[in-house]
């Protein structure tokens, strides 16, 4: 079932100095439960696509549909995860995780139980009452993901969520995030400039062209398993070469 449809979307930025076309006729359809990675040269407008999906900005032309409904303002059914965890320092992990339901006035006993369950299930049980500064970088990013899942968004948007972590942590958090998203059966759109990250996480990889960005190619690597397993797969480096050539030309 199609959950997200980006229909012929273009975006033109206006600044004092100039008019910049960031996106040009972008078309993309994402299935329910799919993990899609968007990669492309830096500054090509990858993040812009996420901003448009979240409804925080409107496309100049074209439209985006979530579950068949046109998006024109943020309504809280989209989960955002950014480079930094942005947990609130003055809230405990549990209270941070409950931020979404609280904002949407859905903090029912049932939701609290659900969030408590997520925290337990993904190994942060003993840190429920702890403050973000007491957690390691990897744990904080996991907590940020739980906060994103807490209000049961229809789709997750991941904007380079691992790039602030050191390499070791990145690999394990990558695994964690993939496992959590798959076991919660969530649809996810990942934006990254790291090709191996894209191959190891995504079911489908969308390569964007230089600005004005448009969909240049779509790959379905079809490697099974966790991100770490995929990195060890014999076809991994082949895919890497193919996509690398695409991104750099």
């Amino acid at each position: 079932m199609e959950i997200l449809k980006i229909d012929d979307v273009s975006l033109i930025y206006q600044t004092n100095d100039a008019e910049t076309q960031a996106l040009q006729n972008v078309n993309l359809s994402i299935e329910d439960g799919e993990f899609v990675a968007i990669i492309g040269p830096s500054g090509c407008g990858k993040t812009t696509i996420l901003t448009l999906i979240s409804g925080l900005m409107k496309p100049t032309s074209g439209a985006i549909y979530l579950d068949g409904k046109k998006i024109d303002k943020p309504v809280g059914d989209i989960g955002y995860m950014l480079q930094r965890d942005h947990l609130f320092a003055w809230r405990t992990i549990l209270s941070n995780a409950l931020l979404g339901p609280e904002l949407q006035k859905k903090k029912t006993p049932e939701t609290v139980e659900y969030v408590n369950g997520l925290i337990e299930k993904y190994g942060l049980g003993e840190f429920k009452k702890a403050y973000p500064r007491q957690l390691s970088g990897g744990m904080r990013q996991r907590a940020a993901l739980i906060r994103t899942l807490a209000y049961r968004p229809k789709i997750l948007l991941l904007d380079e969520p691992f790039s602030a972590l050191d390499y070791q942590t990145r690999l394990s958090v990558c695994d964690d995030v993939h496992r959590i998203i798959k076991s919660e059966k969530k649809t996810a759109v990942l934006v990254t400039h790291d090709i191996s990250e894209a191959i190891s996480l995504a079911d489908r990889i969308v390569v964007l062209s230089k600005r004005p960005a448009t969909v240049k190619k779509v790959y379905t690597p079809n490697i099974e398993g966790t991100p770490l397993k995929r990195r060890e797969d014999e076809s991994f480096s082949r895919w890497f070469d193919v996509i690398y050539k695409d991104v750099s030309t």
Binding site: S54, G55, L56, P74, V75, G76, D77, I78, G79, Y80, L82, R84, H86, F88, A89, W90, L99, G100, E102, L103, Q104, Y131, Y151, L157
Partner: protein, 263 residues
Amino acid sequence: MKKRTLREQYLFDKKKDKLIILAIQIAVLVLFFGLWELLAQTGAIDSFITSCPSRMLKTLKLLARQDLFKHMGITLLECVCGFVLATLLGTIIAILLWWSKTLRKVLEPYLVVLNSLPKIALGPIIIIWLGAGYQAIITMTVLICIIVTIMSVLAGFMECDEDKILLMRAMGANKFQILFKLLLPSSLPNLISVLKINVGLSWVGVIMGEYLVSSAGLGYLIIYGGQVFKLDLVMASTAVLCLLAAIMYASVALLEKYVKKSR
């Protein structure tokens, strides 16, 4: 004697450093007043012009039997009123300016001008409009504190991470929620430092106000003492003023410690 572990030695040294600093601080105070007294007693300085600690004490004792506490109370009340009003009003105005970008842009040059205007210049206007009473003094205090409050609180709001706001908006937060759940809690340290600045400024405002209009209060005592050339009264009142200001600052510092602990 039992030998100290490395940790114990470290803690001991830290404590020792702290005690030494405290001892020197007290010594400076004692030396200052001691020297002052000594020079006055030996006639090296004219205690009619400079006063001296023993004469200040005598004046204070005398005043305490009359109306010292009334004067202290009035000044303290005016100061606290001005301080609280300026902080509250300033914060509310800062919130309004954050809320409306248009308002912020329109008022920016006015704020800059008002900030550099010496508020004492408004003294005559305040007296004519509000009368020569405590209202005028409190107004003066508020005027001196409020502009700085608005500017620093607003700067704190604007410093807030854009990504955090984006995250909240994506979750469906409205502007009220962004204000109360993100901006205010995240700028709490900034608000505390505004309080610290305002403690100092509100004393400036009160004493300036009392110089202008009052018939009671420590500022009045100082001005009156100066006019009748009773330097003992001037010095004694100034010392009491120092004490009150220190107590008020210490309370804010205590509040800061409490807030830091609870985060």
